[in-house]
């Protein structure tokens, strides 16, 4: 059976972001069905059986996460939508927010119904000015048509949504940092447990879900869990997925495919292959900047949670970055290390000091002042960060460092030995 793209079914239409365009494509039918045919508990079950795993990076089963909410109702429950998208190489949520906000909104409303939440927050990164405007407008449109506010579609269910703008901090995409930021504080990640499902926003039970995850909830509402579970590589890698591809390819972009599409198909058929015909693939990071790199020889992989884990990397946020043979791997890692040093929240010493130290070493290698022991030192620092920090940001830099050095050790050693960047020397710079 041919794959029918649904997450991206509207985005190429003129005015795709308006509610009229969305309704014309059958939008909000899923929500009607959920409110009429499902109790909240039954819809949580439906999402569980769909096999949907979170699209924000960690791949945690969505229905199971919802199931962790405590049973009692002494405190209000909150839904926080993670629209902070800041992982380098990742731009799929931006596409949904700007081009099909109602697809996301419908999933938010159905999810809030499932977890019995009456106030949801849409935490969007501050730089997404267009996305903010579009989403605010979508909310107003949905309210005017009775999909938001009091007694939605006569079901007795009430929901308000507040758009909350971040202010330029990658770490606020980490779920507990997001909560701190929403409470009006510095985005310092919290120590877990307690998990947000138990102690979250304002100390109340809270679910945090990614934008694309919630768009998938819309599809489950519309077509059912059996349909969803039949796409991709069941049982644990189900559903459609948005794959980003950037770097040295002809057509960078967001491509929808079932989980488990081969990376080389995404690269060669969807993204049009390598940008410069004379420069073949050197390496790729299929999952986004904080994931491990694969040298070209290992790029024949399937893009899903379990296949990439087996290949020694992760699907992450599916922010594929492609590098050709003209790329200096030391320079690429230096660029990322700078990013992580800039974005560390500074709470833990290994992360705060380690990222800065990595930048220092990589800079001197790249500049031509490297020392023979530097290569080992990089791996050693990464090892000391990993597992010793409050939040997984530590791994987000330790994994790249470790994997870049392992896969391209000679190139690092060459920099130290020659006291120069061989790439720049070759380019006559």
């Amino acid at each position: 059976m041919a794959f029918e793209p649904l997450l991206t079914r509207n985005i190429h239409r003129e005015g795709s972001e308006s509610i009229d365009a969305y309704l014309a494509s059958g939008g909000y039918q899923g929500l009607r069905r959920v409110l009429k045919e499902f109790t909240p508990e039954k819809f949580v079950e439906e999402v569980k059986t769909s096999g949907l795993r979170g699209r924000g990076g960690a791949g945690f089963p969505t229905g199971m996460k919802w199931g962790f909410l405590p049973k009692g109702r002494e405190k209000p429950r909150y839904l926080c939508v993670n629209a902070d998208e800041s992982e380098p190489g990742t731009f799929k949520d931006r596409l949904l927010i700007e081009k099909d906000p109602h697809l996301v909104l419908e999933g938010i409303i159905a999810s809030a119904y499932a977890i019995e939440c009456n106030l949801a927050f849409f935490y969007i990164r501050g730089e997404f000015h267009q996305g903010c405007r579009t989403f605010e407008k979508a909310i107003a449109e949905a309210r005017a048509r009775g999909f938001l506010g009091k007694n939605i579609l006569g079901s007795g269910f009430d929901l308000e949504i507040i758009v909350y703008r971040g202010a330029g901090a990658y770490i606020c995409g980490e779920e507990t940092a997001l909560l701190e930021s929403l409470e009006g504080k510095r985005g310092y990640p919290r120590i877990k447990p307690p998990f947000p499902a138990v102690v979250g926003l304002y100390g109340c039970p809270t679910i945090i879900n990614n934008v694309e995850t919630l768009a998938n909830v819309t599809l489950i509402a519309e077509r059912g869990s059996a349909w969803f579970a039949g796409i991709g590589r069941p049982p644990k890698n189900t559903g459609p997925k948005l794959f980003c591809i950037s770097g040295h390819v002809k057509r960078p972009g967001v491509y929808e495919a079932p989980l488990g599409i081969p990376f080389l198909e995404l690269l060669n058929e969807r993204a049009g292959g390598m940008l410069h015909p004379s420069r073949p693939l050197k390496a790729a990071v299929p999952g986004g900047s904080s994931m491990k790199i694969l040298p070209a020889s290992k790029c024949d992989v399937l893009l899903d949670f379990d296949s990439l884990a087996a290949a020694g990397t992760s699907l992450g946020s599916a922010g594929g970055m492609v590098m050709d043979t003209g790329t200096c791997i030391v320079g690429a890692l230096l660029n990322l290390a700078r990013f992580y040093a800039h974005e560390s929240c500074g709470q833990c010493t290994p992360c705060r000091e380690g990222t800065g130290w990595l930048v220092k070493i990589l800079s001197r290698l790249e500049r031509g002042d490297g020392r023979p022991e530097d290569v080992g030192l990089l791996a050693d620092i990464a090892f000391r960060i990993e597992g010793n920090t409050v939040c997984p940001f530590g791994e987000a830099i330790a994994w790249p460092v470790d994997s870049y050095v392992k896969a391209f050790r000679e190139e690092f050693e060459d920099h130290a030995r020659r006291k120069a960047c061989p790439m720049r020397a070759a380019a006559g710079a």
Partner: protein, 157 residues
């Protein structure tokens, strides 16, 4: 005492305070309102916002300094931000930045003396498919090459 902000801004902050289950949540949006009016967030603005929400000025200043989008000094009328993170770097962000600095006559992180523009390199703007990517105030441009940047700037002037 006269208000350090326009009455309209003050009223919008009151609306925010009523909107959230806890007042603290009004901080980031209130700072945005002040910045929208003044162009930046001064010490006086921080004290005013702190007073409105019931926080200490030191706490507010700690929050402001954590986030890169709050300007603690005035920026230019055109705030030109060029992304430099890896996907943009792989497609020529460095050359674009060098060109922009020359064309605008300012260095990375600086504002021109006449206040017309400022230039900053920033981290990934979540639009790596349009690399190299540029944001000027609240508008997005990409992919942008040096001559494309000249065109955009000409249109803005």
């Amino acid at each position: 005492m006269s208000l350090p902000v326009r009455p309209e801004t003050d009223r919008r902050i009151d609306d925010l305070l009523a909107r959230f289950p806890q007042k603290g949540s009004a901080l980031l949006p209130a700072l945005y309102l002040v910045q929208e009016e003044k162009g930046w967030v001064s010490e006086a603005s921080m004290e005013y916002v702190a007073g409105k929400i019931g926080l200490s000025p030191a706490f507010v200043s700690g929050v402001v300094s954590f986030y890169t989008m709050f300007h603690r000094q005035p920026v230019g009328r055109h705030h030109v931000q060029i992304c430099r993170t890896l996907p943009c770097a792989l497609r020529g962000a460095d050359a674009l930045m060098a060109h922009a600095a020359k064309r605008l006559g300012v260095k990375d992180g600086q504002t021109r003396a006449d206040g017309a523009c400022s230039l900053a390199s920033v981290e990934c703007l979540g639009a790596c498919d349009r690399a190299p990517f540029v944001q000027i105030n609240d508008r997005d441009f990409g992919p942008v090459d040096p001559s494309g940047l000249d065109e955009i700037l000409k249109r803005l002037e």
